[in-house]
Structure formats: structure tokens, C-alpha cells
């Protein structure tokens, strides 16, 4: 940010510094400074099913956005707080989706039971499957995770198990559109604020330590593999819930649950929204998924426009929307002479 003998100086706003500690409750300006952004987000999210009350198509899109938002949150958490780049989010979706289908169709459990069960079971299975890969770091872990959804998809196809290419049909749907919408939105909000809380708790700090440097975590007497497994369990739980929700939404679990979209979109959403902010991942999904729906009318040109928008974001605002927005909110800038 330097230009001819001057540079931009960024200083935290006084109100930001004041609201860092207990002083936040000292007055309304401070309180509203903290609450306002969160309130806008929560109120905005909760009002979506009402706003789209007469547009069932867009109401469905809101649900899909939430599914992607959950995946993006899981991706952001793993990538920017634990240092595991996961290119195979669709593995979680597929695992959750197929498990809930088995539980619901074959065992006859109602969705109230099958979704939470698929979430926990799926998370456990995903963690076990990924466990041997956890010592890997960086790009190597990324490549391995990319393989898993492909393997599972091809296995189901080749052995014609779990309905083969037709998938499992006849899952129970949700009672009505309100249930669909609010289940998705409330869980997404809970995951967002839960993860934000988690990464600032002591356990979360340990996980962030693993990202910063795992050798020091080892030297502190903590098993790095355990930390990574814990993180993968949390993230895959979120992903499996999204998958279970999705297959109950479609009342069908099939091979398209392993689609590459579920792996790529969360990454793009996190990049656009701003990695490491968590809320950015959510905002990114709320931009990208509806955009991709809007572009549907362009037919095959859709991908071109979509790529252009993505490229523009990465070239002109590579830090991501939320990183930029948070900086503007918390700091002011001024030019100073060098």
C-alpha cells in the first residue's frame, strides 16, 4: 500500500478496542457495535423462508444454499483452523445421504432419528476412513481426500449395491416447506456460531496450534493425530448432516450426492467469502449458489459466466469479502508520510 513516500496506516477503532473485553457491556453504543452485525445475519437468515414464501423454487434454493454453507463452514474450519485441505466434501455428503437412506428406508427409522444418527455414524465412519491419511500434510492430504468420494461412487456403481445407479428411493420427506427451511437455517446458524466459539475455546486453540506448527504441539505432549481426528470428526459430522438433510429433501439418495459440485463449491465459497472468518464461508455460499441458479437460464454459457465471476473475485478481492468487510468495520485507514 505504499505510494511515493506515504503509506496507508490502519488503526483499530476505539470502539473495537473497548468492546474487546468486559467493557462491552458498559453502554449501548458498544453493545450495538457487537450485536448489530450478528443481528443482521441472524434476522436475515431467519426471514428468508418468509420472504420467499410465495416462491417455492427459491425457498428450495435457500435450503440448498444452507447445505453448501454447511460444507463451506466445514471446509473453512478444516483448512484455516486445523490446516487440513479437504477436497472431498462430497464424501461427507454421500456418506450422510446414504446412511440416512439406509436407516430410513431399510430400517424404518423416522427422519427425526435417522438424520442425527446418520450425522454421528457418518462422522465416525468418515473419521475412521480418513484416519490413516491424517499424518499427511498439505497437498498430499488434499489429493487423498479427493479420491474418497470417487472410490465410494465407483464401488456403488460397480457392485450395484445400495440401489446402484438408481439410488435409494422413497425416503420420508419433511412435513412441509417451513420445516425444510428452518431446519436448514437454524442448523447452519448453530454450526456457524458453534464453530466460532469452538476455535476460541482452549480446545480450538490446540487445533489452531496444529495448523501453526504441529511439532510444537507434539512437544507439548498432545497427539497431533488425535487433534486432527477430532477436527475431522466435527467437520465430517457437519458434512454428513448436510448430506442427510439433502437426501431427505430430495427424498432420494443417489450417486449425484458424490458430485464434484459438493467438493468444489465450498472451496470457491470460502475463497470468495474470506478464509478464516467462518462467516465468510456462509456469505460466499449465499452469493455463489443463487448466482449459479440465476445463470441456469443461460444454458451451457452458465459455466463461462460463473467462472468469470469467480475469477473477478479472486483477481480483485483475493482476500475475500468478509476479511475486507471486517477490516472496514473494525479499523479506519489514513495516509501517513513515511
Amino acid at each position: 500500500m505504499t505510494e511515493e513516500g506515504r503509506r496507508k496506516e490502519r488503526i483499530d477503532r476505539g470502539i473495537k478496542v473497548r468492546t474487546n473485553g468486559l467493557y462491552a457491556i458498559s453502554g449501548w453504543p458498544e453493545l450495538s457495535y457487537l450485536i448489530f452485525p450478528r443481528f443482521i445475519l441472524i434476522a436475515g437468515m431467519l426471514s428468508l423462508p418468509v420472504v420467499f414464501g410465495f416462491a417455492p423454487y427459491w425457498r428450495r434454493v435457500v435450503c440448498i444454499v444452507c447445505v453448501y454453507a454447511l460444507l463451506s463452514l466445514a471446509f473453512d474450519f478444516l483448512a484455516n483452523f486445523v490446516g487440513l485441505i479437504n477436497l472431498g466434501s462430497s464424501f461427507f455428503i454421500g456418506m450422510g445421504g446414504y446412511l440416512t437412506a439406509i436407516l430410513n428406508v431399510n430400517l424404518g427409522l423416522p427422519p427425526v432419528l435417522s438424520i442425527p444418527l446418520a450425522t454421528v455414524l457418518g462422522a465416525a465412519i468418515c473419521t475412521l476412513v480418513l484416519l490413516p491419511c491424517l499424518p499427511l500434510r498439505g497437498i498430499y492430504f488434499a489429493i487423498v481426500t479427493l479420491m474418497f468420494p470417487l472410490i465410494l461412487e465407483k464401488l456403488i456403481q460397480a457392485f450395484n449395491i445400495l440401489g446402484g445407479t438408481n439410488g435409494i428411493m422413497g425416503l420420508d420427506g419433511f412435513p412441509n416447506a417451513w420445516w425444510e427451511g428452518y431446519t436448514a437455517i437454524i442448523v447452519t446458524l448453530a454450526v456457524l456460531f458453534g464453530l466460532r466459539r469452538l476455535v476460541n475455546e482452549d480446545v480450538g486453540l490446540v487445533l489452531r496450534g496444529v495448523k501453526d506448527n504441529d511439532q510444537a504441539v507434539r512437544a507439548s505432549g498432545i497427539s497431533v493425530t488425535f487433534c486432527k481426528a477430532l477436527a475431522v470428526f466435527i467437520a465430517s459430522g457437519i458434512g454428513c448432516f448436510a448430506g442427510a438433510f439433502l437426501s431427505h429433501l430430495y427424498m432420494w439418495a443417489g450417486l449425484s450426492l458424490f458430485a464434484l459440485d459438493f467438493s468444489i463449491m465450498p472451496i470457491a465459497a470460502t475463497v470468495i467469502g474470506g478464509g478464516g472468518t467462518l462467516v465468510g464461508a456462509l456469505i460466499g455460499s449465499f452469493i455463489l449458489v443463487p448466482l449459479s441458479e440465476l445463470l441456469r437460464s443461460f444454458g451451457t454459457l452458465r459455466v463461462v459466466f460463473y467462472s468469470l465471476v469467480l475469477t473477478a473475485f479472486i483477481v480483485f478481492k483475493s482476500e475475500g469479502i468478509m476479511v475486507y468487510a471486517q477490516r472496514k468495520y473494525h479499523q479506519f485507514e489514513r495516509w501517513v508520510k513515511v
Binding site: 475455546e201 482452549d202 510444537a216 512437544a219 507439548s220
Partner: protein, 262 residues
């Protein structure tokens, strides 16, 4: 010397490690007695850090045994060795750069060892760990009332980072602290304030191994000194004996002698 009275804490026997054809350690044996400060010196590439890595489990030795008290810890995973109470600092400092200095200590404080030991003055619940962390940092030379403990580790100068490394070890309440060049890269005045810290750790009952290049300061604090050269243990003894030894002068300070001859 009264060595017989003090029980051995770490016993290393015939430790050997080679990388391909290069022997980093050849049949190194030594015993570390309770409450001692053992200095390890040697020229660059003589295997000092490899020795530490083998003792703390970061490398698996090719031959030989490492014992901690009565227990064989050869080839145990690093976190398990740390859990027993053998901790180390890293030569290249490894703080958690994205966390404030005091939050760096939350990680060792959260470790199973500390949680099992319990009762760090404030207890172990969330929030208390922060207090404990600031306490430890104050002990190690971070001024409590200044902004330094709350600064991001990425913006701390070397002197503080070295202290942070040491603090990370102390937070584990270890029995053995292995310091890999804590004095290097520090100014004379910074070292002058570090030496009492080391002495204090010894007085608190910790046993230390110090790998150092700063001999003058090391000989001030160490009870015994061991000299390595190309993976061989050349000698071990009291600091006064070691510094006078011809072989040590040859491998360690040899170039100085030659320079004088010219």
C-alpha cells in the same frame, strides 16, 4: 562430585543414528542425573540436535536405548515422551504465530499431562488457563502489565520468542527440559537475563540438558559438559576439565589454533 547419590533420570546407551551413509550419532552413551545441568557442545553438524531428536522421540534411533528413570522410551512417539515429563525447545523457534503470546501457552496447559497433574494454582477450567499462562510468562520475563504477553507471537522479537519456547516447556511442568540453543541469536544483555532463569529452573528441581554454542554462559550454569564431534562422544566431564582438554580444543576450537600458527 556426589554423583552416586543422585539417581539417574535419563540414561542413553549406544545411541546410533545415520542418514543414509552419514552417521549423525555413533554409539553415544551418557547418563543425566537428577538436578544436573548437562551441557552438550560440539561444532556444527556434530549431531547435537540429532541427539535431542532421538531422546525426545522426534527421530527414531537406529540402535541404542534411551531410558527415562526405569522406563525404556526408545522410539516412543514424541507426545508420549513429553507426557512423561521430558520436554524440549526447538532451535528454530516454533511459536504459534497466529496466536497471542499468552495463548501460546494454552496448548501445553491443555495437554493431558497438565490436566492430569491438575491444580496449577488457578485450576484447569477455561479462563483460568489464561491467568496461569500470564503467570508463567511473567516468571519467564514477560512484563505482566505491558502489552507484550498479549501481542501476536508473529510480532515478537527473537529474545521473547526464545523465552516463549522455554515457557512452553515450563507450562508442562516437566522433569527434564532439553534446551536446543536457547542462547543463540540473543544479545549479551538478553543472555544475562536468561542465565538466572535457567538457574531458577534447576533450583525448582528440574533437570536440564543444554545444547549450546555460547560456551562462556554454558560453563557458568552447567554441572557437566559433553563434547560431540561428527557423531562421536569425545569426552564428558566437569566444565573446568572439559575446557582445558586438548582434544576438545582441537575439534571445537581447532581453527583458532591454526590461525595462530600462520
Amino acid at each position: 562430585m556426589g554423583e552416586g547419590l543422585k539417581p539417574p533420570v535419563i540414561t542413553v546407551e549406544g545411541l546410533t543414528k545415520h542418514f543414509g551413509g552419514v552417521y549423525a550419532l555413533k554409539d553415544v552413551s551418557f547418563t543425566l542425573h537428577e538436578g544436573d545441568i548437562l551441557g552438550i557442545i560440539g561444532p556444527n553438524g556434530s549431531g547435537k540436535t540429532t541427539l535431542i531428536n532421538c531422546v525426545t522421540g522426534f527421530l527414531k534411533p537406529d540402535a541404542g536405548t534411551v531410558r527415562f528413570r526405569d522406563r525404556d522410551i526408545t522410539g516412543l512417539a514424541p507426545h508420549k515422551i513429553a507426557r512423561l515429563g521430558v520436554t524440549r525447545t526447538f532451535q528454530v523457534m516454533r511459536p504459534y504465530y497466529s496466536l497471542p503470546a499468552y495463548k501460546n501457552l494454552i496448548i501445553p496447559l491443555w495437554s493431558p499431562r497438565v490436566r492430569k497433574l491438575g491444580g496449577w494454582r488457578g485450576g484447569g477450567r477455561h479462563g483460568d488457563r489464561d491467568t496461569v499462562a500470564v503467570d508463567i510468562l511473567e516468571e519467564i520475563g514477560f512484563e505482566r502489565d505491558s502489552y507484550v504477553p498479549y501481542k501476536m507471537a508473529s510480532s515478537l522479537p527473537t529474545g521473547y520468542l526464545k523465552r516463549l519456547e522455554l515457557a512452553r516447556c515450563i507450562a508442562l511442568r516437566p522433569e527434564v527440559v532439553i534446551c536446543d540453543e536457547v542462547f543463540s541469536g540473543l544479545s549479551m544483555s538478553e543472555i544475562a537475563t536468561m542465565v538466572p532463569l535457567i538457574e531458577k529452573l534447576q533450583m525448582e528441581g528440574m533437570t536440564l540438558i543444554m545444547v549450546e554454542h555460547r560456551l562462556r554462559e554454558l560453563f557458568r550454569v552447567a554441572n557437566r559438559v559433553m563434547v560431540l564431534s561428527y557423531g562421536d562422544k569425545i569426552m564428558e566431564g566437569d566444565p573446568e576439565v572439559v575446557i582445558e582438554d586438548e582434544r576438545v580444543k582441537e575439534v571445537y576450537l581447532g581453527w583458532e589454533g591454526e590461525a595462530e600458527d600462520d
